[in-house]
Point group: none
Amino acid sequence: MTQSLDAISPDIPTDYESLKSHISTLSDSMPKRLLQCARYSLANPDRIALGTTAEIASAAGVQPSTLVRFAQTLGFDGFSQMQQIFQGQLVGRNSEYMERLAKIRESGTNTPGSILGNFVERSKQSLDDLLRQVDTAALERSIEALSAAENIHLLGLGRAHPVVSYLHYTFGKMGVRTNLLEYTGGILEERVQFIDENDALFVATFSPYSPEVVEFASKAFGRRVSVVSLTDSVLSPIARVSSTVLEVNEAEHGAFRSLSTTMCLATSIAVAVGDARK
Amino acid sequence: MTQSLDAISPDIPTDYESLKSHISTLSDSMPKRLLQCARYSLANPDRIALGTTAEIASAAGVQPSTLVRFAQTLGFDGFSQMQQIFQGQLVGRNSEYMERLAKIRESGTNTPGSILGNFVERSKQSLDDLLRQVDTAALERSIEALSAAENIHLLGLGRAHPVVSYLHYTFGKMGVRTNLLEYTGGILEERVQFIDENDALFVATFSPYSPEVVEFASKAFGRRVSVVSLTDSVLSPIARVSSTVLEVNEAEHGAFRSLSTTMCLATSIAVAVGDARK
DNA sequence: TTAAATTCAGAAAATTCATTCCAAATTTAT
DNA sequence: ATAAATTTGGAATGAATTTTCTGAATTTAA
């Protein structure tokens, strides 16, 4: 049907990967609305594959005709021709996905893909556990404590450091001032004196629990500071010196634990505190 | 528009799995042509999802109108309504997903528990997307590059910093030496000279992409260093200056993005590189 | 075998869709 | 600042698509 036209324009992408890079290349010289299309297509390829021009256009905040122009800018006849590539990707990807799912169960395969498949599976499981096992009362008290605090101090070393680093960033973006306690030699303990009774200390620590962190929290707790802790077991030594304890069972693979679930909880805490403070 | 009709026929399947059993149940009492439709649909769900009635009918050896009657026999308004379920299968929507979304909508959106519920659900979705959309070839090339590197340098600022911080820790535990590049004033750029051609640079950056990070990666790339980047879109400026690009669509809630999915990918990378190096 | 009921094919109708077109708005170059 | 070029929104168009309808064919029941 469009054979002659295909022959005329031989340089248009025929698979999704090259289409992606094609879009990415041309997007440099695209005007506002077409760039909007480019962004939307790459962010929502599924909707491009399945939607109609009207639906997609409205979701992307452009006119249907703009979508057509976008496709034509990329060298296609029109939208429909471009859509076929997105559809092809959808079908191909789905069958790959099915194969990968089947392989997850078989242990022994150590390809990057199967390792990822494993972690995805376990992380989903772990997220489910989080939602099922979370102590809602403790979560609420934690949010209250952090919302009421004059200053929030954040402490976490080793595998826990990314958690407080993320909270530092996210709280900052929401206008909540936090103090990220970095461990630079032995001077950590001295900082306890700068933590006020009206402040809160958020501390994350996982097995094996750094003694310095527990010690620091203990001292703060002794000074009647609200200590909100995030840890991997209620048996954690941090539990004794905390006002509220949040527990997370993280996905693991052999000796290695992810931070996937922990980050989900951390994000929720940040958003809830941000809401309460606004 | 079809609300009243939906209400009248409340027992039609809403996901592919139940549709399948619905079809096989009813197919017992179907006349020849409808049975033909039933068989074809179960054998070629992808074509039902993406084709037009004319195309599918011709492929299945029936009339387009028969396809419509088939859908109506199953309880649908028409073909289009049935087609949506086949499309949902392709994108990975199932009944559990629908139920959970409904639950989240029911509950108030501002209690800490519901915020957490929301993030858990979105994170799971996002993890699924990761497994579906991941570019396995790019992932494998990334692992290779990092495994082959003499030294691995890690760079990430803002929301991306927790990612490299985590990698620094985890690689360390596996005996893989890494160099975490911290941004302390303007001296970042100078460090490029210490990165060798046999080294690899792992850089994480998310929108809005820090110019310093892109600039640094660009210089390293110019020095023929393997640059493995983790970012949120192929339109990311880092993509141009990377040997391999890994893309992650992170769960978000309003303006706030988690790091849940990203951490899952990061963990997988660390484990895969650890395996390859051992 | 015959009549009634069901199923079917295909044409026709109604709707939706992708695409084109053009005037207005915006950007770029001078 | 002005003109030229580009980009855009939105209506108009024509093609394609889904759905309905009807008479013919087939099946079922008596």
